[in-house]
Amino acid sequence: MNKFLANIIINHYKKILIITTFITLFSLYKSKDLEISTQFVDLLPQNDSYSVLYNKAIKKYNSLDPIIIGVYGERESIQLSQKKIIKTLKKIDEIISIEPNDNLDYINKNILLLMKKRYLQDNINYFNSKSYYQFFKSINDQFENSYIDDENNFKKNINYFSNQINSFHSFFKAISQNKIEKRDIDNLFFGDHQLISPDGKLGIIIIKHSIDSNDMLKINDFVNRLEKNLKILEQDNNIKISLTGTPVIIRDEIKTSTRDMNLSSILSLILILIIFKYAFNNLKYFFLASISLITGIIWTLAVTYYIYGKLNILTAMMGAILIGLGIDYNIYIITLYKELLKKKIDSRLAIKKIFRTNIRSIIMGSATTSISFIMFGISSFDGFSQFGVVLGIGIILTTVAAILILPSLLMIFIRSDKGIYMVSSHNIVNKINNYPKILILIFSILIIISIFNLHKIEFEKDMMKLEAKGLESVKLNRDIIKKFRLSSDISFFLSETKKENDELFKIIDNLKTVKEVDSLTNYLPPTKEQKEKIGMINKALKEKIDISGDLKKEIKRFKNNLIELSDLAYSMGETDLYKLLDRVYNDSSLNNLLNNNHILLKNEVDFFKHWRENYNLINTDKILDLTLVPNTIKNSYLSKDNQFLSIIFPTNDIWIEHFQNIHLKELNSTNKMITGTGQIFIRVIETEIKEGKKILFYSFIAIFLFILLDFKSLKFAILTLIPLVSTVIITLGIMAIFKLKFDAVNIMAIPLIIGLGIDDGIHVIHIYRLKKDIKSSINHTIKAISLTTITTISAFGSLLISKYRGFIGFGLILSIALLIAYLSTLFLLIPLIKIIDRR
């Protein structure tokens, strides 16, 4: 077989090159359309319940994950610029809704019916105020009942409360200066709908859009366009605009992972070039090997395009992995070719000799690596199966390219070589020969230490720790959590009926880890609840309320409430809020009103004339139904087939492990299928662990059987596996001791080690069985396995320059593992052969 193959290549090498060139050009043309999908949902099996719900919701509503626009600056610049931002957003077709802005007429008109029941009583009196006395009294009641007496509620509503305080502050200032405007009264009546943090330094706008979350290209284009349009507003408005939310993070991931892959591939090629120059002293070898390698990768990309159409976040690394692995097969051929040329052997004869002695071990090495990858393919976890299939095919194709193209090129371009071989192995060979037992003992100790530390390995459940450092989107996400107690990492659920939606809303809205449920229920509460509210409103309106009383006492009470709330905020560590409250109660305008009531009373008639106009506009008796809800609201929550979407915003960062556990447990306690980025990420990790173990086991068995079949010797099959076992255990031990956590990306490295770590052992044993002498076997293989290890480490090590931290961890673990595999082959396997196989 080897002879036959050698003859074909020697006799038809020009034809082979022409045919492979055509195939490569066609592959290149096809693979240009290959996309990278960075969504973790793409890693889950299509029939996974989380994946099914996610994809179902995307189909019905296009986009689930909102984009949050963050505006950094001073309060006034933020307020002024928000209007301009909304104007810009209105011009973008894909934007469905803008919060806070859309539907304000509907919300304001139905403010009482849409309000939570527990706040209604105090608010009815507030809205129905006919005098400043009644107005201040109802505010005081509200402050004391809702905030001072209920600190948890106070904590949850700090942003709403600080907006309210700011509206009061503006009102006091305006009234002191006798410059009260309709806008000040409206802000007091309906509330200031702008979302600005208590310190006034960050404003947010939440937008929903119609871009399909699965369409990476459109997401990329939309976010870039949105960002470009908004950044223009920064210059004249003294503000800084950032974007966050899953679509923005996806865009950033695509950007960084594409950059990382390009740069690390270039770097690994440069490193390999340097190694070739040092090892072979002739750069021609590098260029010829690169042609063969790149050809194999291009073929793989084309096949991937035909099978999957896109790469996921794990297969995105295939370029770097294939460079690292594929170069090995070229190195084995070149090492021997060079040695044969040095012995003045004709190039054709050299190729023939290589095929006779080395091609079998190259194919064996490639086949075992390929088998270990293809075992990933049996996984029900799409992330693994795609990774396995793509890389399994990639290994086969790069090997085919190495066997067909490289010998053909060598025969054309390098027919003689007198260069010096730079790698010397004399010392190492002696040491292995002289101290086999000591080396085995050292490795045994390392393995034992590692086993005792294995339990310390932890799992990284913070997806943000995989992202590039310094991303604006991640920073804004953290700032929003800090300043608004709201995270953009949402979950969602679908309901078949409005009743089911309302019931779940009620349960989920009361969960401790939930800040807000964005649902149709907010705009259309259950009819029963509306009736109760109308009953409460009617009852409150019938009650006799004193319109006049001691106004000064109520203003004093108001000031006292501000002081007490400020003390409460102080003790809670809410610095921004207590400073705001201190500013308001120390402000001369409030103290002016306290000392001179007449300033207030002077415009009481005008104030309440407008106030009452607003009051008369609000709905206090008409039950709302779906026909009264504006379409912009309906379209956000109600699908064409009448399914209801509700989005859950957590109170804290779901990537903080303990909060994540509690939040997901709380959501699970509802017994409703709820999914989102957090759930999918955790599901990916859980599946990776489960499937990873399965793949590890099956790969081991498959490789063992394959080696057994090839060597036809149980002893040599077991010996080949020893460095592999040692590599896996010691690598895990190093991770445990140096606190390197597993994460969703680097966990892939462990099953990969099986395919990578076996190669050196196979070559050593293969040659040993041919030569029957350990010293000469080491001499024959050490150059090649040293070089292949260095080049593969260079390829994976080049991932360390990545911005996406998931790739860094992956590159680091694989580089460590490859080094351990190399050392285990030299200093554990060879001494073991020396001791065990005394022939």
Binding site: D150, K512, I563, M572, I662
Partner: protein, 240 residues
């Protein structure tokens, strides 16, 4: 055979039932003082950053099996003389800056105390009277599940970890209706004063908002069974 198993089971339940009552009695005997006084510091951390620091004097007295507590803040300056009185299921709050004394709503007892992870209810939990007790484990520590009998509580049950040697409370975990451990109280640095075991450091971790509150008591300030008149615990006394 079935009868024997049932009999053994009943005996076992009774033994466990008896044991758990005895354990709890011993735990409570460690703090069976009539009155107490101490100066404590309260430190509040959010994600390991110190966000608030307060000092207060703490007075307590048992009157007709009810424990009355009075906290008087001594620092920082803006909270100086702020006082909290917890008596007969009621809470009074005095703010020295506004000179106002207000009675707070009953549900406030379950809520946060001065922005900390502690609720007013956590200050002194009487395990003996108000809970159904179940010994879950007695290997290394006594682990007891405490389920409130009558009153509405934010928690569905508590899990108390007790040192077997001297019946010190070591850890108290709070679980809600979804079996989520949302708060954990940890007792550290025990010392013996007048035969009463006193933790100098009590930590409450709120796992939901990631806030940790430490109450550190000054060893020299702690006094038990001192004479404090009942009138001291009246609302009007809060302002002095």
């Amino acid at each position: 055979m079935k009868i024997i198993i049932l009999f053994l089971l009943i005996i076992n339940i009774n033994l466990y039932g008896k044991n758990v009552e005895e354990i709890i009695k011993k735990v409570e005997s460690n703090r069976d003082y009539k009155t107490s006084y101490m100066i404590s510091e309260m430190l509040i951390y959010r994600e390991d950053n110190l966000i608030s620091q307060m000092q207060f004097e703490y007075y307590s007295k048992k009157i007709e099996e009810q424990e009355i507590q009075l906290l008087k803040y001594t620092s920082p300056k803006r909270l100086y003389k702020t006082a909290i009185l917890v008596k007969n299921d009621k809470i009074w709050y005095y703010n020295n800056r506004t000179k106002r004394t207000r009675i707070l709503a009953k549900q406030k007892k379950q809520g946060s105390m001065m922005g900390s992870s502690f609720s007013y209810d956590d200050l002194n939990i009487s395990y003996l009277k108000n809970f159904k007790k179940q010994l879950m484990n007695n290997k290394e520590f006594y682990i007891i599940k405490l389920t409130p009998i009558q009153d509405y509580k934010q928690y569905k049950y508590l899990i108390l970890k007790i040192d077997k040697k001297n019946y010190q409370e070591l850890e108290l975990k709070y679980f809600d209706e979804n079996d989520i451990n949302y708060k954990t109280m940890i007792f550290e640095n025990y010392i013996k004063i007048n035969s009463y075991l006193t933790p100098l450091k009590v930590v409450m971790i709120n796992h939901i908002d990631n806030i940790k509150t430490e109450i550190l008591s000054q060893k020299e300030s702690i006094k038990y069974d001192l004479i404090i008149k009942n009138q001291f615990f009246e609302e009007r006394n809060m302002r002095y």
